[in-house]
């Protein structure tokens, strides 16, 4: 296990060094991170300028959901997405061969192969938004709620990661999956709103099929002290089930790897 942490450390160091190789990009990425944060906040301010609550959520509570959305997106875009984009490229060119030749778990190796260091700013922004939300509420979260909220943040990231791995595994068969990842990103975009905003079939889809509720709404409710234990457990269980499913599909995908070109 220590070896894997050391390996992750080396990969992180290398990504930062790679990013430093293009200094101008490094600065542009930083500015872009700040701009995206502002864009993410805008719709919420517009909406709550008109009314006090939406589907039972007041503005500060909805800000907590948005903070979770920004946090999960920061981790996905900072770690998972760049690594898996690189994976797809490796499968297409056949360079994935070198991953399979290493005496470590291939999924772990590719999952942390590339980072976008500037996304740390997004993560800090998410924390800032959460803090601001609680300032608006006039009191901080209770320690117990904070603990469950953080744990569910981890399971939310895990659920999103599992969906990405499922997409990546598909690329072993179809190779071009850019569209699939765009679709996934677009669907994840709905996670900026509490799931209660959606009605009927959509709410079922976003809770059970593509569980964006597990990623943002439930963790936010936990932090706000509004989530019952049963839903918290079911939410974590759902994330674990997705992880297990993604692992099984990944292993099947590796078996059918055909190693492009000579």
């Amino acid at each position: 296990m220590r070896r894997y942490f050391r390996l992750l450390g080396v990969q992180l160091r290398m990504s930062v060094a790679s990013a430093m190789a293009y200094r101008a990009d490094f600065l542009v990425e930083g500015a872009m991170s700040a701009a995206w944060m502002a864009v993410a906040l805008l719709p919420l301010f517009v909406l709550y300028g008109e009314r006090d609550t939406v589907a039972g959520w007041d503005a500060p509570s909805a800000l907590v959901v948005l903070a979770y959305f920004m946090g999960v997106r920061a981790v996905i875009e900072g770690v998972v997405n760049p690594s898996l984009v690189e994976l797809v490229d490796r499968i297409r060119t056949g360079a994935f061969d070198y991953v399979l030749l290493k005496p470590v778990d291939a999924q772990l190796l590719v999952s942390g192969s590339r980072y976008e260091p500037w996304k740390v700013l997004d993560l800090l922004g998410a924390v800032g938004v959460a803090v601001y939300a609680f300032v608006l509420r006039g009191h901080g979260p209770e320690p117990g709620h904070l603990l469950v909220g953080l744990a569910l943040f981890a399971t939310g990231v895990a659920a999103m990661y599992a969906l990405w791995i499922l997409c990546a595994a598909a690329s072993f068969w179809v190779v071009r999956l850019d569209n699939l990842t765009y679709l996934l990103s677009a669907i994840f975009d709905t996670a900026r709103w509490p799931v209660q905003v959606f009605r009927g079939a959509w709410r079922i889809v976003f809770t059970f099929v593509i569980p964006v509720a597990v990623m943002t709404t439930y963790p936010a409710m936990a932090l706000l002290g509004a989530l019952d234990a049963g839903t918290a457990l079911a939410s974590a269980g759902g994330a674990v089930a997705l992880l297990v499913l993604s692992r099984l599909v990944w292993r099947a995908a590796i078996r059918s790897y055909t190693s492009a070109s000579s």
Binding site: L7, Q11, A21, Y98, K102, V104
Partner: protein, 338 residues
């Protein structure tokens, strides 16, 4: 030890005719074809052997190497490397093998090779002291010098290949699968890589399996060769033996110092090349002493050389023959069917 028993790998590939209409049709109805990349191939390779894979493009050489390295799962048959099944990817096996592909790179493009080496050290869990010693040895053998600190994208093809080899060998593997390691390199660099592989093999008693388009690589490095054609193993053994079996005649080349008639030359052997005063004859081995006596005696030739036929020529004849036989049997089958 490497064992392959009845090793077979089939691929299902999608085929379509050229053109837009065919592309559109293939969306609705796909035609698949079974490609028999490797077919019932069996061999044993002992520790420390240097073995060359020869065969035309698409013969199944690289597929066989990938099966041995565990990248591909065999369709049928069995393969073991040091007692392990490669496709199970046991860490113990992966620590003792390496695969170098001349057409693919594991170096991180934007960073110097030293960063890839650091990554491989973490992946293979090589202790610092051992890593430093191996890197020093590889730097000396491959004459890497300061290359390891230059960004990979700024290295020439040859320099990059040398750095690739170092990256692949930092964990001191006992079995080396080398797939076209000299492709695209100039002669000096080819010689350097060849020399390095031989020295590594001798110093570490490592097993080496090599495929190369450059026949000279295989001739210089591999006492034993496996010839693969259309997925089938058609020869396994000593290189000289293959040459002797396929074409026992020698090539005698010389430069004429005086005018000699075509009849006179034909009496010595078959003239297979003549460019000005330079002549090459094909001569049956037992007649060599008499022919050489005559050339050096009455004919006063200069620069006399006696050689085995070039391997390229032998292989071309070999693959050509195999293809003709196959075509003939297919024609016979088709004739029987109608």
């Amino acid at each position: 030890m490497i064992r392959a028993d009845e090793l077979t790998k089939h691929f299902k590939v999608h085929r379509r005719k050229p053109g837009f209409a065919a592309a559109l049709a293939s969306v609705f109805r796909r035609r698949h074809e079974l490609v028999k990349a490797v077919e019932n191939v069996s061999f044993r390779i002992e520790r420390g052997e240097r073995v060359g894979f020869l065969g035309p493009n698409g013969a199944g050489k690289t597929t066989t190497l990938k099966l041995l390295a565990g990248l591909l799962h065999p369709t049928s048959g069995a393969v073991t490397v040091d007692g392990y099944v490669p496709s199970k990817r046991r860490p113990e096996l992966l620590r003792s093998i390496t695969l170098v592909m001349g057409q693919k790179s594991q170096l991180i493009w934007d960073l110097p090779p030293s960063e890839t080496y650091a990554m491989n050290r973490a992946i293979f869990d090589v202790p610092k002291a051992e890593f430093d010693a191996t890197l020093a040895e590889l730097t000396e053998l491959l004459e890497l010098g300061k290359l390891v600190d230059k960004p990979t994208r700024q290295l020439s093809l040859g320099e990059r290949m040398k750095c690739e080899l170092a990256a692949a060998l930092l964990h001191r593997p006992k079995t080396l699968f080398l797939d076209e390691p000299t492709i695209g390199l100039d002669v000096a660099m080819q010689l350097a890589i060849r020399d390095f592989v031989r020295r590594y093999n001798q110093r570490h008693e490592a097993t080496v399996l090599l495929t190369s388009h450059y026949m000279d690589d295989v001739v210089a490095l591999c006492p034993r060769i496996l010839v693969i054609d259309e997925g089938k193993l058609v020869h396994d053994g000593d290189l000289r033996q293959l040459v002797k079996t396929m074409d026992p005649d020698k090539r005698v080349s010389f430069t004429l110092t005086s005018e000699v008639g075509a009849d006179e030359l034909e009496r010595l052997g078959a003239v297979i090349g003549r460019e000005g005063t330079r002549v090459t004859l094909r001569v049956v081995e037992r007649e060599i002493p008499a022919v050489v006596g005559r050339l050096l005696g009455p004919l006063h030739v200069a620069d006399l050389a006696i050689e085995d036929p070039p391997l390229e020529e032998i292989l071309r004849a070999m693959f050509g023959k195999a293809r003709e036989q196959r075509a003939a049997s297919e024609a016979a089958e088709a004739g029987g069917a109608t």
